[in-house]
Symmetry: C2
Subunit: 206 residues, 2 copies
DNA sequence: GATATTGTGGACCGATCGGTCCATTCATAT
DNA sequence: ATATGAATGGACCGATCGGTCCACAATATC
């Protein structure tokens, strides 16, 4: 893959464009988002935009590529099969904290993540593709957890995935709007409680 | 409130219109749904439509009024304050089963419910209004549960609401697509497990 | 059968959409 | 100074949107 043409843009301009686009995509969803509004917001003309991007979709994809793709790389390197009955949940918790740090280090990633979530169910299927490998990872984690007895076996994995994803998104959305305190303790406490909720739902029931 | 003009339509035609609209609204969301497509699908002209409806929004609202409003009436009559420590979760389970029966008795309500969920986050705010009282009810249930010690007190109610709602929607969506067996036993089992998941997440933690 | 009311087809409207096109400007390298 | 390619402004395109309007058809009332 050759480098994307938009990388030739003046970085500051590219950043402002991406910020405006992220806001618009998040608020309205991909289809409903107005490309006209995005570019007029940053004072860019149609021809300039189409000089750097083939179409609206490419803008979306480039934002993803710049901020979220590195995370999926990390996630792909994660080997759930290594986890044992004793290390399973601590491993998840550690990964969660690590991910949290990564997120905290570049805050705009929160917004991109929300944009991503917001558009998962759009009929264009852009996100569905990008989500394929992370989804497969979650599936692997849950299936492995079932074999070693740390994940409940009485409900289908597909349901557990849906529920876990929905919980994660809900918690993330709530956190973005309600946690402004940067108190590190509070954040760690919260993180542990969140993982606790997943344990409550997903671990085997008597 | 005078009766809505659309009630004068030939019932069979109204039903077909509502079915097509529900499908479109569910698949694409309110804004993205094409009114042109809906009416052409049922062979109705623009003028006919606007003879019975003031605008696109009224169509959405009428579908809601016809199928979901009765449920919210029932929900509003529900008095969570009556529940005690012993009757809390059994009461919820019973209500859940009752609701399930009501749903099962008129299957198209599933589709309308999904349409409703699908559009909750749309920026038009139509659903947000309709959702106000059900949301308030959930809030009352959780707050009351906190005072009698059946709901965990270590996390804010607003977060618990978000998580519970997200779980419910995820489970509902999964069930609609994956439960076709009409085996009554299987359904009751599933219902109990679902309530169990809510108990796992929401009940107090040591 | 004449009259009034209700229902209907379809052309039309302004707005907005994503996307194209081209003439001009700007920067850079020789 | 000039040639060259990248960058830009802005008019324009066809399509689609929700919604309006009016002339005509159907139905009901007398």
């Amino acid at each position: 893959m050759p480098p994307h043409p938009s990388l030739k843009m003046k970085p500051e301009r590219r950043t402002r464009l991406f910020a405006a686009a992220t806001r618009e995509f998040t608020e309205l969803g991909f289809e409903q988002a107005s490309l006209n509004k995005i570019i007029s917001e940053v004072g860019m003309s149609k021809s300039s935009f189409y000089h750097y991007f083939g179409n609206k979709t490419e803008l979306f994809e480039q934002i993803f590529a710049q901020t979220l793709a590195p995370i999926t790389k990390i996630a792909e390197a994660f080997q759930p099969e290594i986890l044992t009955k004793d290390t399973f949940w601590p491993g998840i918790l550690m990964a969660s904290k690590g991910g949290g740090k990564f997120f905290a280090s570049q805050p705009e990633i929160f917004n991109v993540g929300r944009m991503f979530h917001r558009n998962l169910n759009e009929p264009n299927g852009i996100c569905a593709e990008m989500m394929a490998s992370p989804l497969a990872l979650v599936s692997r984690i849950l299936e492995h957890g079932k074999t070693i007895g740390t994940i409940r076996n009485d409900l289908p994995t597909s349901l557990l995935i849906e529920v876990a994803m929905a919980m994660g998104m809900a918690i993330d959305g709530w956190a973005v709007e309600n946690i402004q305190s940067n108190s590190k303790n509070a954040f760690e406490d919260f993180n542990e409680k969140v993982v606790g909720m997943f344990i409550n739902v997903l671990s085997p029931k008597p």
